[in-house]
Each structure stands twice: as structure tokens, then as C-alpha cells.
Symmetry: none
Subunit: 199 residues, 4 copies
DNA sequence: TATGAATGAGTCTTCATTCAT
DNA sequence: GATGAATGAAGACTCATTCAT
């Protein structure tokens, strides 16, 4: 593997293990198996390296959600959303500590934002994809027509996001099964709504 | 005002303005209008000071949600949830950068967690309060009986939480009116559900 | 007891327990049971306090050796020297860490020296007292006439001094009995000399 | 010369000139002609640096005493001891302020002790060497057979040690000649003993 | 005289970055 | 490109001393 890539992965690993604040060039170099000097042959600065790490985080999730659009009209809406929610929980689980960390350094956040903007990326993209899926299901009559797809997407992904945030905050781990159970529960609630119907 | 309190407020202000990573004892002292040494007459360490700041953040929100429980059976469920959502958006808006920052320092997070645990606090408390409110409305038949109150609370607060997270990530400010509009939209979606009913 | 005296004893205690370098005004005040500010009502500075502590150390030993001069011609020379050596070992045992510490701060040492000079004191005084005793025993023919009393005193007290120094350096404690045994051994050697005589 | 060595010598120099308590990393770096940061490229901490300095002190003396063992049976015992005493006086003269200083910091002393123990060193080693020499002279009949060699060595080196201690305490310098004279006097006294013989 | 909060100079240490090899 | 010793700016923290009460 290219040293450059090795360094990025080392940085990511250290950030996850020690937190942004305690991620030093020395430690990154140690994990990457190279000298501190080498870092500067591949990246302009420590911040530049961080930005490259951050750049690589979102795409995996967006890619996962892309599949969702291909499921319109297939299977049940509930099952499709469940797959999406499970992917979201997994993605948030591994990316949240790093993403949240950025708030500790507004400069880094600002520069990251610029990069996202240039590439037309950002955390909202995931919500848009889910909303797009729901919109297409609406066209097929599998989702209420008078519902705001983006609001629905926000409810679903928001619940997953905060769920992970709270668990990580509390250092409580959760099994894959428990995660799936949570997704099911939340989606079921979202599907039926709160209003007492003519049940 | 007591110097101790002044220091906490100064620390909070600097944390919000510069981020946890760039919050120095020197700057805190400058804003508090005292010497760096004085910080250590009131707090054991910089981390201790941070913990005191963090300690003061959640209670305001929990207090706000307490009012919600007194609204059971009064007004419409939708309106009551809207008040809660607006309070949540406001609270997340000001606390999220700081809360998220903590992930950059796992030690700080761990110690904060200990404090929360001792005081039986934590971010989940807000969700529990909303869930409790919904449960009592269920008893009055104003919310579907077969709905999981906690899942519903998670959907609502999760949406608000992630909404703020994304906006802050993107540095997009939002007016009070826009926030209220968002709350309304999301709640309406949550109330009716996604299932195409016998409309 | 006067607070002034309490402070001196507290300082002495802390110096012995934590070493000169780690003896802080805060700790002294804590042990003395008063505020840090109080220290400065009784002493001009921390150094001044140290000097007062140091001032009190030597006299106890000199007083002990004074008795020696009253023993001339009484008992055996060997026994008298043994009493002196035992007193020396005990005195060095408790004073050496503090005395040695002073070398870490030449300013303190210089000021202490001035004080000693004004009071005509100093560590050599002990050796002079033992030498004086030997001189008087020489007059009575109980010690070789052609021996240099001061050199003999230096040998005896020097051995005791270094013995304690080495033991404290090595953190080896020694029972009273072992100390007495050491004194006896050293004195016996000193008495008979190294030269192979006409034995 | 290697920077590491330069730093050790600088530290030693500053310790002698200003005392352990006033030896700062800033001053060491200034004398060594490097930045403070460089200190930490070669030593883990200031204490670590001190330990390395201390480590280098004793060996020179032990090496000097090694020669003594080769003199058994050669020249006069008196002359051989005189050489040893002169070496001891010179060694104590330069090492005592530093050695004594350690008592001001029990932690430093403890760590130094550990190092000495691992290397099987310590201040007692010098006395053992002199004792070993005397023992071999005993075998040749050049020293009384019924004398305790270690006690004799303690008397001699103890006298030298305390002599230097007192002089440094009093800030009295002593010429090489005066030192030699002192050695001669003390040895002569030790050789003949105090007991009034059948003179 | 006793207090103890406030001080600020000074200390050790860290760490991103540079550069000669 | 790779290295790693050297850097120096910046940081958190300590502590003797002061002073208003």
C-alpha cells in the first residue's frame, strides 16, 4: 500500500482511539510505521492530513444509501427503511466520534466545510437520499402522498443519529441484533404515526 | 458575581467562540478578568473547570421539558410537542458544539460521564421526559395506544438534534421562525405516519 | 504553644518528610494549622523560616557533647567516646537530610553560614568538643601524647557522619543496637591503630 | 561532541554553580547551546537528565581507588593510603554538593538509588575498595591482623568526607597542599592509634 | 494578628514543523 | 522520497508573596 494511504489510515485509527485532541503527529507516524518527517512529504500540515481523513468518511455511507434507490417498489417499504437504518446506525457508530470531534476546532471545521461544499457533499446528503427514496415510493402509492419525504427521512436518520450519539456518550455498546431491533421499533412507530386513528 | 462563576461563564464563552481545542487558560483568565493563577484557586485543573461548565449545560433543558409533563391533556398534543421541539432546537443549538467537542478528548468524556452518572443525568433524560409525556397522553387516548412512547420521543428529538448538527456543521444559521416551521413539519409527519391509510 | 514555634516545627517536619524542594508554604501552613498568610506575620520569607529551622538543629548535639568534657578522667576513654559516637550517630541520623539539602540552594546555604558565623557556630564545633575532650585525656595520660586530638576527633565523627550518610543514601535503617555496635567497632579500631606493633 | 553529552555536562555545570533547586531547563539549554525542546529529545524529563548526571559521578572515584589494590605490598602502607585519601578529598570536593543536594528531593534520591542498585554501585563501594586493600596488606603483615579493615576504611574515608562537607559548608577553600597535609595528619593518627602504648 | 483569595512570574513539558543528510 | 534531530512557540500549572478585610 502507498505510504500516503497508510498514513491516512493511521491517522484515522489514532483519532478514533485517542480522540482528536490527543492525536499527535508522533503517534500517527508510529502507527503508520514511518518518520514524522514523512508525514510532511505527503501532506502540507497536520490539518491537511485530518481533512483528507474526513474526506474519506462520508462516501461509504452515501454509497450504501445509493442501493436504497434501487429498491423502490421492491420488498416492503418497512424492510427497505430498515436496511437503511441499520446502515445508518453502523455508519454513525464509527464516524460520529470523529465527526463530533471537529467541533472542537472551528478552523478545522471551516476548512472541512469548504471541501464538502466544493465536492457538493455533506451530512445532509444522506437524508436527501432517503427522502428521494420515499418520494419515489410515494409515486407508487406505498407511502402516504401527503407526507413530507424529507421530514420523514430526518425523523428516521435523526433518531438513529442521536441514538448512537447518546450511546457513545454513555459508553454503552450495542450488539448488531440490538441495533436491528432498535431500527425496527423506530420505523414501526414512524410508519403508523401517533394519531389515534379510527382503529 | 463570584469569581468562580465568572470563570465558568468565561470558559463557556471561550469554548463556544474558539472551540475546546483552542480554549486556553490564558484566554479564559483574560475574559474572566483575572489572572491565570486564580483559575487554580477555584478549580483543580483545566479539565475540572471544563467539567463544571459541562455540568451546567443539561439542567436548563431538562427544566424546560419538565413543563411538558404539566401539559398532559391540555391544548393539543401537537402544540405541546411543538413547544418541546422548539425548546430542544434552541437547547441543541447552543449546547451541541460544546457537547460534540467532548468527543475530541476521551478522558474528558469519561470523567464527564462519571459525573453524569453520579447525578443520574445524561442526554437520554430529555428523551425520557418526552416519552413520559406521551405515555400519559396515551392514557387519555390522545395518542395511539399501540405506539412505543420512547421510540416516538427518539424520532422527534433525534430529528431536532441531527437537524441542528447538520446546520451547525454547515454553518447555516436559522431564524426562530424557520426553527418553528421545521418543528411543525416534523411533528406533523410524525403524527400522521407514513403508512398510506384508508384516507 | 506559640504559633511561631508551631510553624517552625511544622516546617521541620515537612522538610524531613518531603525534602526541601517539595516543602511548600501551603503544606507548612496546613501542618501548622494556620493560613499561609500567617507565615508572613512571623517570618519575613520562606527562606527566613528555613533559617530559623536550621538554627535550631545543631545546638542539641553540641549540648550533648558538652557532657563529654565532664567525663575526663572518669570511666574508660573508650566508653566515653562510645557515648559521644552514639550521640553523633543519632544526631546525624535526624539532621543530615536537612543539612545536606541546603546544598541544593547556595543562597540559603550562604545565609545560613552568615547566621552560624555570627553565633560562632557550625558543624566543626562538635569536632572541636571531642578534640578538647581528648586533649584533656592526653594530659592525664589516658591517650597517647603524640596524637593530634583534632585528627582523632575527625576520624571518629567523620566515620559516624559518613556512615549515616551512606545508610540514608541507601535507605537502610539501622537499629539502636546496630548503631552502638558500629560505634564500638570503629572506636576500637581507632584506639589500637593500624600499625603492626610489637604485639 | 554529541548533543546528549553536551547537555549532561551543561546540567552538571549548572547544578554545581546554582544548586539543584535553581537548575532550570532553560539555563541548562542555554549553557548546552541548544533549545529547551532538545533536552526532551534526549531525556524523558528533567529528573531523568539529573539521574544521568548522577550516574556519571561515582565511577571516576571508584576507578581511582582501583589502582590502590595494585599497590599492595608496594611502597609504604601510609603512602598508599595517602594517595587514596587525596583522591577521596578531591572527589568529595567536586561531588559532594551534588550528592548532598539529592536529599532535597526524596523522589530523585529514590530513583537514583534504584539505578545504583541495578548497577551494583553506591557510595559504600569506595569504602569497600579501601577495606579490600587493607585486608590484603594484613595478609602481608603490613597492617595489624586484629584490625577490622572496613572500620579502618570508614575512619579514613569518613574523616575525608566530613572534612570536605564542613569546609564546603563553611565555604572555605583549601589548597592541594593543605589537603595533602590533612590526609597525612589523619592517616598518621589512624596508624598509630590512641592507646598510650609501652612507649 | 489572622485570614485566604488574588497574583504573576517562572517552570517543565509538548508538539507541529523544518531541514540537512 | 525518507529520515529524525533540532526547534521554539505555546501550554498548563505551581507557588511564594501581598493585601484588604
Amino acid at each position: 500500500m502507498e505510504l500516503r494511504e497508510k498514513i491516512i489510515q493511521a491517522a484515522e485509527q489514532v483519532m478514533r482511539a485517542k480522540g482528536l485532541a490527543r492525536t499527535t503527529t508522533k503517534e500517527i507516524a508510529r502507527i503508520a510505521g514511518c518518520s514524522e518527517g514523512s508525514l510532511y512529504n505527503h501532506f502540507q500540515s497536520k490539518e491537511d492530513l485530518f481533512l483528507q481523513v474526513l474526506k474519506g468518511i462520508l462516501p461509504t455511507f452515501v454509497a450504501a444509501l445509493m442501493k436504497l434507490s434501487q429498491r423502490q417498489g421492491i420488498g416492503t417499504v418497512q424492510d427497505n427503511l430498515e436496511d437503511a437504518a441499520i446502515a445508518a446506525l453502523a455508519y454513525f457508530h464509527q464516524s460520529l466520534p470523529t465527526s463530533a470531534s471537529i467541533f472542537s476546532d472551528p478552523d478545522l471545521l471551516a476548512h472541512h466545510r469548504e471541501g464538502l461544499h466544493e465536492r457538493n457533499e455533506g451530512p445532509h446528503r444522506a437524508n436527501e437520499l432517503v427522502a428521494a427514496y420515499l418520494r419515489s415510493e410515494q409515486l407508487q402509492g406505498r407511502v402516504r402522498a401527503d407526507v413530507d419525504p424529507r421530514a420523514a427521512a430526518d425523523l428516521l436518520l435523526g433518531a438513529c443519529f442521536q441514538h448512537v450519539f447518546i450511546r457513545q456518550f454513555s459508553a454503552e455498546d450495542e450488539s448488531k441484533e440490538a441495533q436491528a431491533g432498535y431500527a425496527k421499533q423506530v420505523i414501526s412507530t414512524l410508519m403508523q404515526g401517533l394519531l389515534p386513528g379510527a382503529e
